[in-house]
């Protein structure tokens, strides 16, 4: 389960809730690569307010 994190009004990382891990949107980060695979495979993704996102695939396509 993941949640988008906003810092300085910019969303540039995601929180893996189970482990309390902050994952930056960085292509050289293995956790970030796994995050995209997992949410595309059905893992839950919440927006910055904690609402479950329904258009995950569309959102992931906007990511680096």
């Amino acid at each position: 389960m993941y949640k988008l994190i906003k810092n300085d009004d910019v969303i540039k990382m995601v929180l893996r809730i189970e482990s309390n891990t902050f994952i930056p949107f960085a292509l050289d980060n293995t956790d970030y690569q796994n995050f995209k695979k997992e949410v595309l495979a059905g893992a839950e993704l919440q927006d910055v307010d904690g609402n479950v996102m329904t258009d995950v695939a569309e959102y992931v396509r906007t990511l680096p």
Binding site: I5, N7, R16, T21, F22, P24, D28, N29, T30, D31
Partner: protein
């Protein structure tokens, strides 16, 4: 040499006088023949004395001979002294002393000597016991491309047993990947057996059930070697170098075990090795001719993955000893560790080096090994100092200028042991404060811009901020 006109058979010396003495020769010819014989005897003697005769097969058994030319001599005893030094061209040394002889022959003295000033053209490398490297591929720093091959560093678990989730790391740099959870545990020095000579630690795996592995399932542990650390191998090119993987292994099981070299999905080289005796450390060496095909990472991404199988299905396993375009992580027919409840599999001394020979383990200093690990993972445990927040008097604050101890391979993830991480904050006027929330802001390979925190009210400013007992911060840039 007119004496040769005489025959060695007396009856044959019948030539006309004075060259012979035929039957019925005239008496007046007798003295002529005798005079001729006297002259031949004198001529023969003078020839021997003056060396004007060439003796074709003389045999000398004693005495002294000077001034005689021989074409073949058999010497059966005695000694030769006082002669002029035989030249090198004549099969001699051209010298009368050993030192001069070695000089003339360009030969070095045997035993301890200082004659040898350089060695070239060796076809066999000097062994390590002889003071050499045991390899023809050169000896240099970072011989072993595996990090934490001696299983000394365990930042995450400090020797505790874990049942790892797939993809998680156990001992530093060693990752587990499995398709079904909770089938094995991992612990540094599990079972407390005596490590092999020269080692203090090992990675110990214990099977937690008797699981029948499905055809597409896999249970592995592996090390992902960063591309920068194998770029010189030239894999994926015509100049790919041969490497040798060596390690020490100990298992409650015997048989043929498997593993694979892999580039992360499109090239693999399954291998097998044998453990013939249970519960005994066995040295394994596997030489692999470098892959001339495929794409192998050469920067900060994955370079080579070294997979060890604990049980893999048929579709995850390939023919041992050959490069494949498939993503194999083990060899066909390898023993399944997870197939036996309570089975153990221990390993240490893992080394990957250039060349076709396994040399002694490259045991690096602890501090060096730890810092190598920290390029991929840091554990900030209890007592680790942190920057003081910027605004003491508020309950929402920023902890600025976070710096990692070692520059990271890539942009890291930050794990706080709790969202209400209880950092130990000490106020100048006494009393501690409690962090009620914390988050990372913008991590880079060097550090983080700041950590956003919420905390209990600070009334007199802070003079100290450290990670509290039982808490941690993990900075991970693993592959």
């Amino acid at each position: 040499m007119a004496y040769t006109k005489y025959s060695l058979t007396p009856a044959n010396n019948t030539a006309t006088p004075p060259d012979g003495a035929p039957e019925g020769m005239l008496p007046s010819a007798v003295n002529d023949t005798m005079r001729d014989m006297m002259a031949q005897i004198r001529d023969c003697g003078d020839g021997i004395r003056d060396g004007t005769y060439t003796m074709t097969a003389p045999k000398i058994t004693g005495g002294t001979i000077t001034g005689v030319t021989y074409t073949s001599i058999v010497i059966t005893g005695g000694s030769i002294t006082g002669i002029t030094d035989l030249a090198v061209a004549d099969g001699g040394t051209g010298a009368s002393t050993a030192a001069n002889a070695r000089t003339n022959l360009s030969a070095a003295a045997s035993g301890a000597n200082s004659d040898i000033t350089s060695l070239t053209g060796l076809t066999t490398p000097l062994s390590q016991a002889q003071g050499g490297t045991g390899t023809t591929t050169g000896y240099y720093g970072f011989k072993n491309r595996i990090i934490n091959g001696a299983m000394v560093i365990d930042q995450r678990n400090a020797g505790a047993s874990v049942t790892p989730a797939s993809g998680s790391y156990t001992l530093d740099r060693w990752q587990t990947v499995q398709t079904v959870a909770s089938k094995f545990s991992v612990q540094q020095n599990a079972g407390s057996v005596t490590p092999p000579a020269g080692f203090k630690n090992y990675l110990g795996i214990t099977s937690l059930s008797a699981y029948t592995v499905g055809s597409s399932e896999l249970f592995n542990f592996l090390q992902n070697i960063e591309g920068y650390n194998i770029a010189d191998l030239g894999w994926g090119t015509a100049n790919a170098k041969t490497v040798t993987l060596s390690f020490q292994v100990y298992s409650s099981l015997t048989g043929t075990f498997g593993g694979a070299f892999n580039n992360g999905g499109s090239r693999s080289y399954p291998f097998t090795y044998s453990i013939p005796v249970a519960n005994t450390w066995t040295s394994i060496s596997i030489t692999v001719v470098g892959d001339t095909s495929g794409t192998w990472g050469s920067t900060n991404s994955n370079g080579i993955q070294i997979w060890f199988s604990l049980g893999c299905g048929s579709s995850q396993s390939g023919t041992a000893g050959a490069w494949s375009g498939s993503n194999f992580v083990s060899a066909t027919g390898a023993t399944s560790v997870v197939g036996t409840n309570g089975a153990t599999f221990y390993i240490t001394g893992v080394q990957l080096e250039v060349g076709s020979t396994a040399t002694s383990f490259d045991y690096r200093p602890y501090g060096t090994e730890l810092n190598l690990c920290k390029r991929y993972f840091e554990n900030w445990g209890a007592g680790h100092a942190l920057p003081l927040p910027q605004n003491y008097g508020t309950t929402t604050d920023r902890m600025p200028g976070i710096q990692w101890e070692v520059q990271k391979r890539g942009t890291p993830s930050i794990t706080f042991s709790s969202s209400t991480l209880n950092f130990l904050g000490q106020q100048t006027g006494g009393g501690s404060i409690t962090v009620t929330a914390i988050s990372s802001a913008a991590p880079t390979i060097w550090g983080d811009d700041y950590w956003q925190i919420s905390h209990s009210t600070v009334t007199s400013g802070l003079n100290r901020y450290v990670v509290d007992t039982g808490q941690y911060v993990w900075i991970s840039a693993e592959l």
